[in-house]
Point group: C2
Chain length 411, copies 2
C-alpha cells in the first residue's frame, strides 16, 4: 500500500488527538484566533524553527521543550500577535501560556508547545489569551482539526489541512497536518537540537516513531517542502514546525532501520510538501505558482542561491504577474546571485518550451511563451551549464493585491 | 572656495565637451534614444561596472578600453536595448558601434566607450543604431548635455543632470554628470581594472587628473553613492559609470598627493552622490525616499548586509508606501540578514524619534510615528548593539505603480 489521501483529513485524523479552534478576541474581525492540540497520551516530538536572529519568545519556549527530550502532550497556538521583540516579558508570557494550558488540560507545562503569529513588537494581551485557553480546553474535540486550522490563519484566505494513511507492517497509520502562511514567508528552518520558520505547521501521527528517526524525517523533508518556498522573501521570527507521534495506531516503533522506514518517510514527506505548496498557492495576493528548478550549478548550495535570487526578484515576480515572458529578468537575477555560470552554455525552458539556448534567445514564438506562463501553475527550468548542482524552489508572483495587503495591514 | 552648484549644469558644463541626444527609432514612443559625448581632446578615463556574471556586451567593450589604459574621446549610448545575453554577436555589435562612432567623429575606435540599456536578450537593431550614430554626430553641441540626459532614459520620469565647480590651485574646474536609473537598480560596481552597475552614469570634468587618482576618487565614492542605492534589489547586467577628465581647464594635473586632491574628491563625490540620490527619487513608482543607517554592527560589511536586507524587504517597502510604522518588519529583516545583533541592546529611530529601545517598543505614540514616516523623505536609524560597524543605504517604497510598470513593461 502506498500513500492514501484521507478525505477531509486534518490533524485530528490520526487516532488519539483532539483539537479546538476558538474566538479568544485577539483578532478585531472576530474570527477564530486560538487553537489547541491535545494528544491523549505522551507523544514523541520533533520540531524545526526559524534561524532569524530575533526569533520570537514562543520559538525559544519550544526549543526548551525539545531540548529536554521528553514526550509532549499539547500545543497552544494564537494568531493576532507574534510575541516577538517583546523583551523578557515575552518569554514569561510564553511560559505562562504553557503553564495555563497544562493546568486546563491536566498535563505538565513541560509537555506543552507554544506558538504565536501576528504583529511583532506588541506585548501579549494575556488576559485575553488565558481566557482563550480555557475556552479552547472546553472545546477540544476529535473532530476539531479543521476549525483549529482556521484559528491559526492571519492573512491566509483559507484553512490548510491534509491527512494521509500508509500501511506500516500491517497496521494503518495516519499522518495529519495543518499550516498557515500567506506573508513573511521565506522559511529556512533547522531541526532542533542541531540549531534552531511566520509559517506555522503542525503534524500529528498515530504512528509510534522513535525520536531520532522522527527528527531525521523532518530534517530530510524540509528542503523538499518548507525550506524551498518563498512568497515575499522575508523570513519570519516565528516559523515553526512541530511534529507529534503518539503511537495510538499500535504499530511496532519505526526507526531508521525498520523495514517500513521508507514508507513512513514517504508519507511524512507527502504531508510536508503538500502543506508547503499550499502556503505558496495561498500566499498574499498570489495569482501564479512557479516551480523553478536550477540545474547545472557548481553544487546544490549554489543552485539554491541562484534559485532563491530568481524566486525573490521583484522584476521576475512582477513579470510573472503580467504573464510577461521577459526571460532577461531571470538571467539577470541568476547573474547577480553570485554563483558560477557559463553564459554560452546557459539554457532556459518554460513548461518544457526552449526559451534560451546557449545564452541566446531560442526563437520560440512569443505567443507560445505567453501561453506557457499564463497558467495558474507553471515550471521554469534553468541550466547554468557548469556542474551537477540542482535545487527546486516554489515561488509566486507579486501583485497589486500583495501591495494592498501589506501597505494596509497595520491600519 | 568650496563646491559650487552650476545652474542648469550637465555633462557639457565643463569645457571641451559636446553632447547630443537624438531619436534613432529604438523606442516605440518616438522619444530620444541615443546619446553621444565627445571630448575635444584625449581625456583620462576611469570606469566602474556591474559585477553581474551575465554582464552585457557593452560592459565587456568598456572594460577592454580601460584595460588598454589609453585616454579616451567619446561615449556612445543607446536606450531601448541592453545588448545583454545576445551571445557572440552582441560583442561584435558593441565593437561595430565603437568603430562607427569613431569614424563619424574622426577619432579612434579604441577611444570610444559603448553603453546600452533596455530589454535584455534581443539582438541589437544595428541598422537603426548606425543611422543613429550619424544623426548624433551631426547633432553634437556644447549645449547638448541636457538632451543627452533625456536620450538615455528608460522608465525614468525625468532627465537627471548636475554640474559643480571647485577651485583647484587658482583654476576653476567643473565636474558634470548625468544618470539614468528607475528599475533593475541595486548596483554593486567595482572599479576597472580591479574587477569589473542598469544604471548608467557619466561624469565629465575639464580638470586635468592623473588616472590613478581618478580611479581612486571613483572607487572611494561608490560606497557613498551608487553602491548604496537600491530601488528593487535587482542588480543589472549593464550598470556603468564612465568618467572623463580632459584637462581643458588648464590646471596642474591633480594626483593623490596634490594639495587640491581633497577639494577635487569632495566635488567629485558631490556629483556622484547627487546622481545616486536622483536615481532613487526617480525610481519606478517611488513615493518615498528612505535613508537607512545601520550602526553598532560587528563591522561595516555586516552593517551593509543588514541595511541591504531591510532596504530590499518587500514587507518594509510596502509598509513605507502605506506610512505604516510597523517596526517589527524592520527588525524581522535585520534578524534574517545573517549578522550579529544583540536583541536586548537593539535601538531604532524614525527621524530621531525613539521607536525601539533595548529590543522593545519605546512607547512613542503611533500618531507621531506615522507623521515621521509620512514625509516624502525620512531617516531610519538602527543600532544593532554589538560593535562599531556602520553603513547607510538609500532606498524607497514599493507601490502599485511599481507593479504596474513592471507587469506591463513588455507589452
Amino acid at each position: 500500500m502506498s500513500v492514501q489521501i484521507v478525505e477531509n483529513g486534518s490533524i485530528t485524523s490520526p487516532r488519539g488527538y483532539q483539537a479546538a479552534g476558538i474566538v479568544a478576541g485577539l483578532k478585531k474581525s472576530g474570527a477564530p484566533d486560538m487553537a489547541l492540540i491535545l494528544s491523549d497520551r505522551p507523544a514523541t516530538a520533533a520540531g524545526a524553527f526559524t534561524i532569524n536572529r530575533g526569533a520570537a519568545a514562543p520559538v525559544a519556549q519550544c526549543r526548551e521543550i525539545l531540548a529536554a527530550g521528553k514526550p509532549a502532550r499539547a500545543v497552544v497556538i494564537n494568531s493576532g500577535n507574534a510575541n516577538a521583540w517583546t523583551g523578557p516579558r515575552g518569554l514569561e508570557d510564553a511560559h505562562t501560556m504553557a503553564a495555563k494550558t497544562a493546568e486546563a488540560l491536566g498535563v505538565s507545562a513541560d509537555e506543552v508547545f507554544v506558538s504565536s503569529t501576528g504583529r511583532i513588537g506588541v506585548p501579549m494581551p494575556m488576559a485575553t489569551i488565558l481566557k482563550g485557553i480555557d475556552l479552547g480546553a472546553s472545546a477540544l474535540s476529535p473532530d476539531g482539526g479543521r476549525i483549529a486550522a482556521e484559528a491559526i490563519m492571519t492573512t491566509d484566505t483559507r484553512p490548510k489541512s491534509v491527512a494521509v494513511a500508509v500501511d506500516i507492517g500491517g497496521t494503518t497509520v495516519t499522518i495529519g497536518g495543518m499550516v498557515k502562511g500567506a506573508g513573511m514567508i521565506a522559511p529556512m528552518m533547522l531541526v532542533q537540537p542541531k540549531d534552531q520558520a511566520t509559517m506555522l505547521a503542525y503534524l500529528t501521527t498515530d504512528a509510534a516513531v522513535d525520536r531520532a528517526f522522527l527528527e531525521q524525517c523532518l530534517a530530510g523533508s524540509l528542503d523538499q517542502s518548507f525550506n524551498r518556498i518563498t512568497v515575499d522573501g522575508d523570513m519570519s521570527t516565528n516559523d515553526t514546525v512541530i511534529v507529534l507521534a503518539n503511537g495510538a495506531a499500535g504499530n511496532p516503533v519505526i526507526g531508521a532501520d525498520s523495514a517500513d522506514a521508507g514508507a513512513f518517510a514517504e508519507a511524512f514527506n507527502h504531508v510536508m510538501s503538500y502543506l508547503a505548496r499550499e502556503i505558496v498557492l495561498d500566499g498574499e495576493g498570489v495569482t501564479r505558482f512557479v516551480e523553478l528548478s536550477v540545474t547545472g550549478a557548481k553544487d546544490d548550495v549554489e543552485a539554491r542561491r541562484c534559485a532563491d535570487a530568481i524566486a525573490n526578484s521583484l522584476l521576475c515576480k512582477t513579470a510573472w504577474f503580467g504573464a510577461d515572458p521577459n526571460w532577461g529578468r531571470i538571467l539577470d537575477a541568476a547573474g547577480y546571485a553570485g554563483v558560477d555560470m557559463e553564459p554560452s552554455r546557459v539554457n532556459l525552458d518554460y513548461e518544457g518550451l526552449p526559451i534560451v539556448r546557449n545564452g541566446m534567445d531560442a526563437g520560440t514564438p512569443e505567443s507560445d511563451q505567453v501561453k506557457a506562463i499564463s497558467k495558474r501553475e507553471f515550471c521554469i527550468d534553468l541550466d547554468l551549464g557548469v556542474g551537477d548542482g540542482q535545487f527546486t524552489v516554489w515561488t509566486c508572483d507579486i501583485t497589486y493585491e500583495y501591495v494592498k495587503i501589506n501597505a494596509d495591514y497595520h491600519t
